[in-house]
Symmetry: D2
Subunit: 408 residues, 4 copies
Amino acid sequence: MELDELLKKLEKKEIDFNKLESYLNPNEAALLRRLFIEKNSGKSLSSIGSTIIDFKDVYGKNIENPIGATQIPLGVAGPININGNYAKGSFYVPLATTEGALVASVNRGIKAVNASGGVNVIIIHDSMTRAPVFSLPSISYCKLFINWINENFSKIKEVAESTTKYGKLKSIDTFVTGNNVWLRFSFSTGDAMGMNMVTLAVEKACEYIEKGFPEAKCIAVSGNMCSDKKLSYVNTLLGRGKTVIAEAILPGKIVKEFLKSRAEEIVETNLRKNWLGSARAGSPQFNAHFANIITAIFIATGQDVAQVIESSSGYTWAEVREDNLYFSVTLPSLEVGTVGGGTQLPTQSEALNLLEVKGSGNPPGSNSLKFAEIIAATVLAGELNLLAAITSRELGKAHMKYGRKMNV
Amino acid sequence: MELDELLKKLEKKEIDFNKLESYLNPNEAALLRRLFIEKNSGKSLSSIGSTIIDFKDVYGKNIENPIGATQIPLGVAGPININGNYAKGSFYVPLATTEGALVASVNRGIKAVNASGGVNVIIIHDSMTRAPVFSLPSISYCKLFINWINENFSKIKEVAESTTKYGKLKSIDTFVTGNNVWLRFSFSTGDAMGMNMVTLAVEKACEYIEKGFPEAKCIAVSGNMCSDKKLSYVNTLLGRGKTVIAEAILPGKIVKEFLKSRAEEIVETNLRKNWLGSARAGSPQFNAHFANIITAIFIATGQDVAQVIESSSGYTWAEVREDNLYFSVTLPSLEVGTVGGGTQLPTQSEALNLLEVKGSGNPPGSNSLKFAEIIAATVLAGELNLLAAITSRELGKAHMKYGRKMNV
Amino acid sequence: MELDELLKKLEKKEIDFNKLESYLNPNEAALLRRLFIEKNSGKSLSSIGSTIIDFKDVYGKNIENPIGATQIPLGVAGPININGNYAKGSFYVPLATTEGALVASVNRGIKAVNASGGVNVIIIHDSMTRAPVFSLPSISYCKLFINWINENFSKIKEVAESTTKYGKLKSIDTFVTGNNVWLRFSFSTGDAMGMNMVTLAVEKACEYIEKGFPEAKCIAVSGNMCSDKKLSYVNTLLGRGKTVIAEAILPGKIVKEFLKSRAEEIVETNLRKNWLGSARAGSPQFNAHFANIITAIFIATGQDVAQVIESSSGYTWAEVREDNLYFSVTLPSLEVGTVGGGTQLPTQSEALNLLEVKGSGNPPGSNSLKFAEIIAATVLAGELNLLAAITSRELGKAHMKYGRKMNV
Amino acid sequence: MELDELLKKLEKKEIDFNKLESYLNPNEAALLRRLFIEKNSGKSLSSIGSTIIDFKDVYGKNIENPIGATQIPLGVAGPININGNYAKGSFYVPLATTEGALVASVNRGIKAVNASGGVNVIIIHDSMTRAPVFSLPSISYCKLFINWINENFSKIKEVAESTTKYGKLKSIDTFVTGNNVWLRFSFSTGDAMGMNMVTLAVEKACEYIEKGFPEAKCIAVSGNMCSDKKLSYVNTLLGRGKTVIAEAILPGKIVKEFLKSRAEEIVETNLRKNWLGSARAGSPQFNAHFANIITAIFIATGQDVAQVIESSSGYTWAEVREDNLYFSVTLPSLEVGTVGGGTQLPTQSEALNLLEVKGSGNPPGSNSLKFAEIIAATVLAGELNLLAAITSRELGKAHMKYGRKMNV
């Protein structure tokens, strides 16, 4: 059938707008859908239609009802010198953003840290979590239920892991409110961010649990104590994704030359802005703009961008050491993967490849750990530069230079 | 000069990788930069290079050091029926995401609300804020300073507004911690999200304030009580961007037919997951996945994506009313604009145009208000559907259907 | 009737244990009740029975079902030198506590601040709040309701103030979640803490509001946004009770001589403990032990001790200034009164009298403001000393000296 | 020497006001100190001086610089029927308060739960914590430090436990921010609340740790992640003191007869007030007034009253079950003891004795667990009654009846 005929049928609602892929291959379906909307709305969507994405590869995996793609400018910062356990060496970092001055800002920070010996990074925790909530008849059942879970951990682990090749159940933490019990499952998930892997595993585990302890009714496979795409203290305290810490020690003359500032001043800005300010605002995020850098890398590399929320939790801590500036960033719940999700898309896959973290690592998990280290180091550079720019009151100039677009 | 020659100069560091736009037009510079990195890394970046973006339009405005673009699949949900004060009628909503099942999920929610009379939306607050922090010699100066600010409000307003055509200073709230004072400026900003407009205005105001009250030293033009790209209670309580509330009332048979569930069950899931779960997790976000829908719309329409953090704060509240389901979402700090930022980019501008909110509204501000109403209505549909899917335990099936990619 | 006979009747349940005051004067009733419980339990309660409280004065006002009194050791710290707007001079501060080392700790802090010129104090906010929650049929009614409240503010104020001599309604802030609206009423309340005064006034106002806007149903006269006896950001941001700030500037030699420490060290302890530690713990209280001092004063002076929760919110901020230590405490929601509540009781009234803040001030309100200044200054002394003791590692010694009882 | 002579010496500052116990026995010292202040201030403190406390028993243990005692009215509620693991049977509960209506309120709640079969209670966690913060030269040392702590756990345990008879180290949780590491020690502490026992043990452990890992410098034996006398998510998530849950199931007719309400109404009030209201206020306490009941019991029984802050964290959860009301309270961090602190004082010791929890239990720890169960059950009764009173709008009447003193 021709597109024209299908378009008419679509207008007459003889075929379903949401199921064009039943009639056409995904690329044709995307085209038809776009044409229909253009006709219907009288608006051109030709730029959206101009994409290199092959919807045969992504339909039903990354998107439904596609009509094309959004294109976001991609800049590179770096190369940044990193001394991690996985990331060792020099990396160009891809940043997809529409926010003027962001790449330039990160870049200036990178120059300063490179001139100071680079960025050290460690990772102290790695897991992905899912926390179903169960309702029980009474609190005495809650107590029995928790005991039952602990006693049957091995069996639950077996059931959960039967759904996945890479996921390994590490622990189940329990929390109670009245007659409600949350089981917070923590898995290692190899190089995948793992949210979906873990959801499937936990669904299976819940079926088993409900059979074995029939008084417990699973209300929701996600009971918000996971916590996914939400900022929470359970994440900052117990970790979700990777807990990563990066630091750099900058000689005073580097701070002056590259950042037009002094160690004392940056420390003071950090304290009054990031600590007093966030405390007073009631914000759990004691940093200036981790979110900017993480968002730009997440978009560029096919991460689940909504997870920028918990991923940009964290703490910026700086000290004066004699004439030097000690500067660190701590990210308790950075959620990233190098397989699955949007990582296979054409531009995203190239971005990961540029960092040499595409796909499954050897050993499994090492790519996503390396990736997390690169992100944390870049966050440090971007955070450092913004604090310096605020301190030396260069924000205004940066605005003017980079077209009135600056986030603080 | 030819690209080849420039490439060699670049390798020899005779020209600056970060300043290629001094030698070449931005599109050529982007090409050269990409070729250099490809050569340097041995990795192809050809998909990234294949973009319709004209860097002459975006360089120095939205991006620095560009090498191309990231392409993200764009699907449409809807049309969704909305009864707002600005958005009235039926809208196809563009969602850019790599998360399988998201568009389908929103779409099913839309069908259910459309069959129930559509979504009502109200907006009860609209402003953009910036909160510099000042250090003072002592607390007695803090008190004098606050008095001075209040007495000189008109003059400060005049100075601040001198930098902007659309920005109007509405109020300055003061907060004190020891010898530190925050001034939280609130502006109306027309159709712009306004962060940058407000930063420039506040910088100017701070210069004036420091001259008029020399004992006050501005430590940072952003003292984190704004709060930008951070979740905070000052935002949920006093508002930032738009405070938007949406609701739908679904007959029991619609809940059953479209959502395979019952009002009582959805209410129960909402309570135990979104309220008990978030409270127990220590999360200020009492919802399931506002972030998913907001992120996808923000990417599609050129918003500042890192602002998804505070924009996805909010509350899902549901009640059983006889046989019906009353369902609402409240977004206290939704930050959006239809001019500035990434809204002018080719695909982003088409997406806004599809919603008929591109550019400046008539009257000014009406486009961004309409846009905010559309987002809130779509969030409602997506939130409703996820709660229903969790309740009826269809997540697993959705996973299987949509390629193991599902966020909860 | 004799006590013996009544005791028998009580055992036979012929008279009601909870209503002995119907048969006897309150002192006899208290005695009979105690004897009955002693007999019933076989335990002596003779110390509890040995009280100077005359239950004729307190029954039905401060207590029901009395059997006697609890006696708590009362120590004095000071005199502390205070430079406030209301408290000017030198004050002995009464502290009722069972926590060894507390009075000694405060006392050492006082010596240090006295030797440094005393404590400066300012108050920047004063109000008492109550926030009823209303349920409405839909969000469009919410918007109409808020408008109605604003338009009828004068009338609501008149109705609310009709119930009280001292209470004056200053403002009503509105907050919305779905179809729920909170009205946060703020009153000035003279020298009373005012919680009860305000509750009665708001109950009356709610009756008026429900008549004038019948679609709004008041679900609870307290909707938890007040927030009473709960720590909350609405209190720290918008204030409840008094917002008080105190500071002292200590020469380095005083820090060394009196506190065995150095300015740099105390600043460092404050940062890593009170700021990093509380942020990491997910605590909104960025201080070490405001609660200890406030609790002891509240017990001694007949305050509502459960209000120690929000009253001990607050921030400790210290800076090095050349060789000196700048030290401040900020208490955003200190709730105190010098009339009403337990302030009339014999020992409590004497304690207030010692501070010369008993009863109603001239002008009204000045006594409670003076009292708040004294508390904040004492909190500063106690906080300073604990940080110094931790820094110089003297806690252990203090334990040994003061009987293994120390809170940090 | 006569009192008169000493008084003169005191006035001439020939003897130290803070060290009168060097010259006199504690009771005489307290008297002299009081007389001096009376003379000095011209105020009578005779009620404060009239106490049964023998300062020979408490000086240097519970108080310094004593002048007498504060007397607080003590009422009894109950008896309340409890089905716990430790508390089984019927208990009169002592409540020391100056807040009119509180005892009556708890009492009405008790009647309702007794008529419904009493209160069930479980305890799911029991420990006392202390979290020192260490500063390290760099993050690589942080990682080594954490490994060292884990490897040397047995030795650290041995050292820590050497200071105490009852304290047993259960675990050490580690948290990192930049170059700072917190070690959160958890101990079982028998029947003591244990704060002091644990502080001494951790001080000793820290000395050992600093010797074994000299690059780690202990900045503060309490790094605020304990968290003592501060509300925090680390406490609600990981527990501090006892985690206790209580429930009652009330038939509809009992709710109507005793509480003048209906199950549906109480559930609605609980949701809109305690859940929506606290969420909106930014309060981590999702309850109405746990603090009132806990404060009154803490004062009556010699607990560390400032710990009411974290002890009154918690969640009130209610459900409609057919015609019945399911009602529960969850207290994640209730900190209580039956030995040490103020528990030995005359009136406090009688109050504990009345509950049959005085002193060390058999087995050790059972008394404090029983005591925690009694508190939780009483909290449930008081919370239930307040929600009912709010629902049926009886607060105003209660005010009038009980002398304008009511907290909500």
